[in-house]
Symmetry: D2
Subunit: 298 residues, 4 copies
């Protein structure tokens, strides 16, 4: 089967190799010509433009988007629409917000074009060696390309989660859980770090991966990180985020579901990006006002 | 009535003036002779030592402690015990932990000495002009010195809260509420500060004090703080704490009561005292491990 | 000055009386004819429809909307547009989301109609006796009706907060602060309620209003509530909400500002509306899986 | 090597089988004679009392305690002291608070008796088939019994974490992390459950275990739980706890470390045990006071 792949970033590049290794005929494209050159060096066919890409694909075309979530997805889709035929299939494999996927599904349906939203987990190594994919969309469309998901995922690592939107919804919640788990691990190791004991972080993370309740891939990565930098001395504790945690929280708010752990995981990331806080100034000023407690001057 | 006052810090000094203005015969002492000199300049009698203090008091002695919470209270009490007679009264007006007050009450009871635990709110201005006092201890002892609490407090500003310990317990919870209220105000003004609008913080805080639901003394102090420094440019957002918020939280945990707002108020204070966090390093490292997301280097 | 008032609910009815008492000529309307009859009995002119309302107003018309936030505001505005002349003024005095106000301002500007967004605080008693109002919109429009805000508000209780949207934005944040303050008070009293001491809730709340740091209107209302029902035995702890807390939180998330106290205040409200939680079932099931801990059966 | 095992509950019983399978000569005891009978039926030697137990052990005795944390541990230790010789070894394999372990270590040191604190993770299945053990105490004592830890743990599943107390400290923090992870998973599935999509919980949890970032033992147990009861219809969402989460939080507070995720995980457990809350009543009453919002009557 031919697969048109748009987007050759960290995830897309590895996915191209994964598809190729699994016998799919990949035609890859990216706005950055360097990435196109690099993937060509891996023996993968390339396209110089979306027009070129769609021309090289025959029959019912399958185009996998692996571009940054947001307007870029819409831009690519708008460029593709005039180039596609009815029943051609666009798969959005990025971290799109599920409400955008619902909108895109309906928009493409109007044009007769099929759409699947595919959440892809497992990080860059998963994209290369075997991902975990969760796919939303019409059953018949899913069935048509099921082989793709089956091959690029690890064994039992793909699922048709339901109707359109459910793939990215499932991935969003997955990431919300991930935020909470990461913050839980991080808090635990901060308690270790501040403790009166001389805890060996790497050995402890390793231990936790052998028979403990908290064993899992995140704890393995924790052990790996400490193996490289035992005290994490080289890095700053600034935690960025790409949106899914916030979306999970917003979705929960819309449903009236309390998700305190996911909320605080997101907020501690925001806090880590601030050198100082206005809220802190207000509290410090108030303590000075009523109690004469000294404030720290800048 | 004579009152022996031990401790002439910000609160004690003002309380001495308050007692004196209200017609009590104050004999004041502090380990710092400068403070003793300063209060003497205000026309208040002083004692050079606890022995001197107890000698100057006649009849059933009333000694008000206004010293930092913790071991110092125990030290002063141990020094006072051999100097006192049965039914003499020690009032601890500081921010002692209520479990310490329960212990001290029992310990002094064994010696025949009476003890009242008095939570004092209203800040330094309240200590001077009229405080809010919450008193725990035996009813007959409270009655004996009720006039003191009545005079130094603003109208309707004192309460016998119940048996020993309840005064400091009530003050502890008061401060827990205060932590939450302050953090709520602070978060609101941080949202103002980050907003697309050009909110005048001082005018808004002033407005909130005229008819709004959130009007109150803390909002008045907020307006005062902004009147002095409209953007709080001069100060750092480092929030210190003196223990009552943490104690409220620990007490709630022991009771199995969820107090998320008080908990987070305490924790955001701790966070503000940290330049960087180990937890942030762990999360940043994990994001790098699974997704190749760049970490910020030191 | 004439004021057309649309909406005679708890807030609107009281505002009509307030405007009337302050010498404005009110022409009142509501979709519910009973409310119209009731306000007529208070000596206030009424209109049977929006058409009737606009007909009765002369010169540059001023129409105050006091209807539930959301689609109803848009519906009323759409009905009013064909009935109004350029430079007529619509004031939205309800709890609208500020982004809706920004949109409505622009939409009405296109039609030549002026718009002010007015956050109104102080509850129903404030609406009657003197509110706290925060007004966003063009300065010249504000000036034209400033007398209205000045008269219906308590002294110093109104503020032109800035450009369109800022009035409702300020009110939204005000309510976010209010959520946090209320939850802080509530947590404190739950600690009192569970404690080993026999705290008199009403006396304690009263005390806190006399000289303490946490004194303010919310604590006065707390004392009032306990005066009516000393243990709050008659009511259930179900906390509803009308949106502003959630909006404040969502706005903070969009800005990347951590607001843990406001977040948890909102979430504990949601939690209170749930009899049981699916999250609780999941944790209980997990504890059973790994540790054999008994689950509670339904 | 002989091992005296005191405590034959869920964990202790399985540990006895594990030790026996691995070639240790177990002499088992429990205050409940039924448990003693049951373990005897498994071919394991038993003791009718602690005196009988110590008599049956020869040479440098090794006694493993697997009894509930708290006073029972102290009681057993006090009973054992007169029965033991210098350099005999007590291992506390339960979930004791690390400060208690520090105290017990010092107390036993005074008597010449050696003590190891051993955190045991992996649940009841781990206790049977291969646990994860984290051991604090003197290095030479650890070395003497290292073979025991090595044999009863899965490969690479034991660690000498450092000096006395560090084993239970590590286990405490492990459980704090576990609380946060479980709550994160639970929140995610509550979002699934409330969503507009028809998510298959069991299939989704299964999927998450195949290549996703959140794969791990807790997610496997989640899949198992849904396999048994697809909607968890049979159980109530009441989450009990055995202390380690609370201890982790208290320890973090003492260190001034913010651990919001662990804190909220603990608090949502407490909340789940309450049918109604006093804090909810207070907020509901306040909303009624200022806004006339209806309260729900009991």
């Amino acid at each position: 089967m031919q697969i048109g792949l748009v987007g050759l970033g960290k995830m897309g590049f590895n996915l191209a190799l994964n598809l190729h290794r699994n016998g799919f005929e990949v035609i890859a494209n990216d706005v950055n010509p360097d990435f196109v050159t690099q993937i060509a060096q891996q023996g993968i066919s390339t396209a110089s433009s979306l027009g070129d890409l769609t021309t090289q694909l025959t029959g019912r075309r399958v185009i996998w988007l692996m571009v940054p979530a947001g307007e870029i997805v819409d831009d690519v889709i708008e460029q593709l629409i005039p180039l596609l035929n009815p029943s051609d299939i666009i798969i959005d494999g990025g971290n799109s917000f599920y409400k955008d996927s619902l909108r895109r599904y309906a928009h493409l349906k109007d044009k007769g074009i099929d759409f699947l939203d595919c959440g892809t987990s497992g990080g860059t190594s998963g994209a290369l060696q075997g991902a975990c994919t969760m796919i939303g969309g019409d059953t018949d469309v899913f069935k048509y390309v099921e082989e793709v998901f089956q091959k690029i995922s690890i064994q039992n690592g793909y699922l048709h989660t339901g109707r359109a939107g459910s793939g990215h919804f499932t991935k969003m919640v997955h990431n919300g859980i991930e935020y909470g788990m990461m913050q839980a691990i991080a808090e635990g190791f901060e308690v270790f770090e501040r403790s009166q004991f001389d805890i060996d972080f790497q050995k402890t993370a390793e231990l936790f991966n052998h028979g403990s309740v908290v064993r899992g891939w995140l704890m393995e990565l924790t052990a790996n990180a400490f193996a490289k930098d035992p005290q994490l001395d080289a890095i700053k504790g600034v935690m960025h985020s790409s949106g899914e945690g916030k979306w999970t929280l917003e979705t929960a708010l819309d449903m009236g579901v309390p998700t305190p752990v996911i909320a605080l995981s997101v907020m501690m990331r925001y806090r880590s990006q601030m050198e100082d806080t206005f809220s802190g100034k207000v509290v410090a000023a108030l303590r000075n006002e009523f109690g004469g407690h000294a404030v720290e001057k800048k």
